[in-house]
Symmetry: C2
Subunit: 614 residues, 2 copies
């Protein structure tokens, strides 16, 4: 039953040789790797605006345009920096890999922790924003957001990714272009309306700016920090250079420029329209939905915008599913995470990582009630920490490599590192108490965990090191004894079978009965004598009616007595019952004894299955 | 830590020889075995009254006295019948034992199911009634009843009984007498007030009786059925004859008469006063509390009555803890329940049964919200089914034994059986839809479970029967081979140790590596050749990256190939890590393989512990 459900939901297992990578043309790569970055236009400007008009009773609407301009400039700097990353790392690799190569263990682990947090938040924020887009269009869904988010996470994203989907699949390509088409028409129509209507070009209320005192600066910087959430996903192209058609680095560079250009254009257009139509943030209708409704009313095109926005946001969540499991597998391969995160499941996907991100993102959505504003407060800081580490690593890289024009390259990445580092400071200062502290605690905790895990694996490798020189000599085999202890409760067929087996293992067989009272001791001894199997029965009296402890004591005594090279083996029969509930009718001494014996050094346990057929 | 808490709460383990029974004098036996029966005066009359005044808008107050008279007559009949049981069974034994001896398996199992239900309900009803007594006196506790009930069950009754307490302990003796003293003073004062006051002797309203049509008859019979809850526990003395001082049967008989006399007197007195003061049932104040307040106002004596009532009711719950675990152990010994219900814990008590009754009673209290009225609807039917079976068994007993005057004895028990059988019918008819159906479903389900369990044990005994004639011949030992399979992931010290051990077991060692890809196959083979331990390495390719399934397939192939008398043993190392969380860093293949192999016939599994010290 479970197997059939598994086949239907996940598909049949895939053979190793079915693993392959198709090289992507630029137009496909753009849509696949940029859905995260481009879709952020759906929430980035709104999140900046929200701070400007909703904080402490001040309406600082006029500062929206400088904030978005600053975000756009930063975006271009980061894009230029990542073009350098693409050129220097034709093999791809995220912040963790670059930092490990150029800066060492600690910065790499910090980057890994930051990217981990970032990916989980990307999944959570994108799913929540996608749901917000569709709830704006269909208010009847309002109040069911968390349920929709979780359904999308568990029943769509998790299952699709466990199945595994070719990254080049057209499913991932067209929605992004459909979304872009919608945004072009939206911005075009909006700008046309702005120029042709009799209204003021941009209403005065939208341009008024309060004097920039310290309090206002704080608000503006916080708005900027929120706006920076638009920049998540910019690194995706540089991480995936090897998937491009040749010449890889060149194509990746061109694609990065396209991505940045489109994103800056959309940010500018959306911000212009928001100011022109003086959109205010509402809790149940997204700013983008308000804009679209303003321009198209509730026509087909309004719904087109909302649906494509929803789909592209869910796709953006999917990029986290592409990225995180791969990151975890690389970190696990280096021994900083449990090794099994590096093994591919039956569909060649990193199933454990996929389940992990689904659970983590689901938990975040439940904890924050699917509220994008709260999730955004955690977001961005992880991204910018990893940006900074990656860019700084590049500076070190150029300095070491010293190729032609290395100084210019180092300066470009240096500017990138400084700008993103500054953003980290701004986000920390403005959003610390609003949730950023969670991430700033999470990252060091993760680094600690990474190091502890690596420490354990290192210790283990030391201890498990094969002594190559010892060649398994056989000459002392005659001297080594293996004491096989067979605990019995009364002589039965199981004992008969166990002893038959024990005789193939050793000449030193000890049959042991733990007697809870004298009566049972006498009875068992009498039956044993009657049967007379040629082995002596040892009876251990247990006046406190314990079974396991006297056996353990016996084993300990034997351990003290025997030669050091001798072995002790305890033989425990395990009943396989025909029906599951029959198991409840047998006492659980067997596995308790097993569990206790394994804690002792140099005592092996043999489980002999005994199948009850009735 | 757990061990210390255990010692403090439960006490140190007791040696077998510390088990003993003190013989009880009549005055102690009366209080110990009658607390259940005598305390029921606290709720029996009230539960009868509740039906008479609260059902279908009719106030049939006047029928209270005939109902209680009927209950009293029935009580005397049952007491006389049980005197006969005492005489015929000087060894004690409840309805189950008597029915098994005289009527056979099925009636005995029905009795066991009925008594099981009865004991659990005794615990639940008595605890709830005890709490009601104290809540009546201290209304501030109102609303916390279920919490108090559960606290009494888990923290007092369960712990005290797990500790084990000599039945003769004075803790159980004095409260019953304190309660009786209170009741004597209450009834004496009440009757005195009734005779000396100027009021009507018993108000007319309390004597009015509606014509006894069918509807009224139904109500009166239901009231009678509820009143019969006063008779639970009457059998306790007959069940415990061997605990009396010699001559046991005689002393038990006298004690039964005393118990019945006291109970009838109290029932009469309480009913008289309830009618004289025209007490009406209230939901938060018990009738007994209303009576006591009427007579003593809120004086010391009022609180004395409430507190002793509470204690004696909790003690009544304790009689279920004395009875049920013993019953379960007897039934388990006969193979109708899991055998471990028949093993005494470290304090010589039947711990499993004690925990079982606590959980069951706690569940009932939670399900019924601690409402006595609802619990009473389930009650009594089980008691009267077991009464009927016991009395009918006695009729068969006298008929078979045919001692002097056996006809008279048989008639006495026959009348008892008929009367209690009639009560079963009355309860079934009047309370079926009010909850009695639950018990009538529960009993056959239990009987079915009893039979299924016994069936499994019988089947097992057949299969485990020792072949006495087969003498463990050793001559074919040279011919029998034991294939020891050692699965390895790469050559490490663990493999070295495992092989050293395997060599003591067998000459046929198969070292197996499941390769998830060609690269790992080549790497492991190369390392193996370099080490060259003198055993060949077999590599199984697993292109679908499974580990366990290829191993199972290999074992199956070997099973098909080998001689029938040969054994297969799989050697699995188990890592004992120094810290618990290290375990999470190792893959779980070992125990999955173990669990799957045990499902195969004739494949043994050896667990070799490998302790990591770092």
């Amino acid at each position: 039953m479970i197997r059939i459900a598994r086949r239907v939901l996940i598909g049949k297992p895939l053979h190793n040789k079915e693993m392959m990578h198709e090289r992507l043309p630029k137009w496909k790569a753009l849509s696949i790797f940029s859905s995260d970055a481009l879709s952020s236009v759906a929430y980035g400007p709104e999140q900046a605006l929200m701070i400007l008009v909703a904080t402490q009773g001040v309406i600082a609407y006029g500062y929206l345009s400088p904030v978005i301009v600053a975000v756009s400039i930063l975006l271009m700097i980061v894009a230029l920096s990542y073009v350098q990353v693409s050129k220097a790392n034709p093999g791809g690799g995220g912040a963790y890999a670059i930092a490990k190569k150029n800066m060492g263990e600690l910065p790499a682990l910090v980057a890994a922790g930051a990217v981990f947090a970032d990916y989980v938040l990307t999944a959570a924020v994108s799913v929540a924003a996608g749901t917000a887009a569709i709830v704006s269009a269909f208010p009847g869904l309002s109040g069911k957001e968390v349920g929709i988010d979780l359904a999308v996470l568990f029943f769509i994203l998790m299952l699709v990714n466990l199945r595994g989907m070719k990254e080049s699949s057209n499913i991932f390509v067209y929605p992004t272009y459909a979304f872009l088409l919608g945004m072009i028409v939206l911005i075009g129509s909006g700008v046309y309306q702005a120029f042709t209507h009799v209204d003021t070009f941009i209403p005065v209320a939208s341009l008024e700016r309060q004097p920039l005192n310290m309090a206002m600066l704080y608000i503006v910087l916080r708005a900027f920090a929120n706006g920076c959430s638009s920049m998540t996903g910019v690194e995706a192209i540089a991480d995936s250079v090897p998937l491009f058609r040749k010449p890889e680095a060149y194509n990746a560079t061109i694609t990065t420029y396209w991505m940045a250009g489109i994103l800056v254009t959309m940010l500018g257009g959306v911000t212009f329209m928001m100011m022109h139509f003086h959109i205010m943030p509402l809790s149940e209708i997204t700013a983008l939905s308000q804009l679209a409704e303003h321009i198209f009313h509730r026509s087909f095109f309004y719904y087109y915008i909302q649906v494509t926005t929803m789909i592209v946001l869910y796709l953006a969540a999917n990029t986290a599913y592409n990225g995180l499991p791969v990151l975890l597998s690389i970190v696990a391969k280096d021994g900083y995470l449990p090794r099994y995160l590096n093994s591919r499941g039956e569909r060649l996907t990193f199933s454990n990582g996929i389940i992990l991100i689904t659970l983590a993102a689901g938990l975040l959505i439940i904890v924050y009630g699917g509220n994008i504003e709260h999730l955004i407060s955690l977001y961005a800081i992880g991204v910018f920490i990893s940006f900074t580490i990656a860019q700084f690593s590049m500076v070190l890289h150029w300095k070491r490599e010293k190729g032609s024009g290395w100084i210019v390259r180092a300066i470009v990445n240096g500017i990138g590192a400084s700008a993103t580092g500054l953003v980290v400071i701004i986000i920390t200062l403005t959003k610390f108490s609003h949730g950023a502290w969670t991430v700033l605690v999470f990252i060091p905790v993760m680094v600690l965990i990474f190091k502890k895990i690596r420490g354990h694996y290192d210790d283990m490798a030391d201890q498990l090191h094969l002594p190559m020189e010892e060649k398994l000599e056989c000459d002392d085999q005659a001297v080594v004894r293996n004491y096989v202890i067979v605990p019995i409760s009364s002589p039965t067929r199981v004992v008969y079978e166990s002893l038959k087996f024990a005789k193939t293992l050793s000449k030193d067989i000890i049959v042991l009965h733990v007697a809870k009272d004298d009566e049972s001791a006498t009875r068992v001894q009498a039956k044993w004598n009657e049967w007379n199997p040629g082995i002596d029965l040892e009876i251990v009296h247990s006046p406190y009616r314990l079974t396991v402890q006297p056996l353990l004591d016996y084993v300990e005594e034997l351990q003290a007595k025997k030669n050091p090279q001798d072995y002790i083996t305890v033989l425990i029969p395990e009943f396989e019952t025909r029906k599951w509930w029959h198991r409840l009718l047998h006492n659980q001494t067997g596995w308790i004894l097993h569990a206790m014996l394994v804690l002792k050094e140099n005592v092996s346990v043999i489980t002999i299955p005994y199948h009850l057929n009735k």
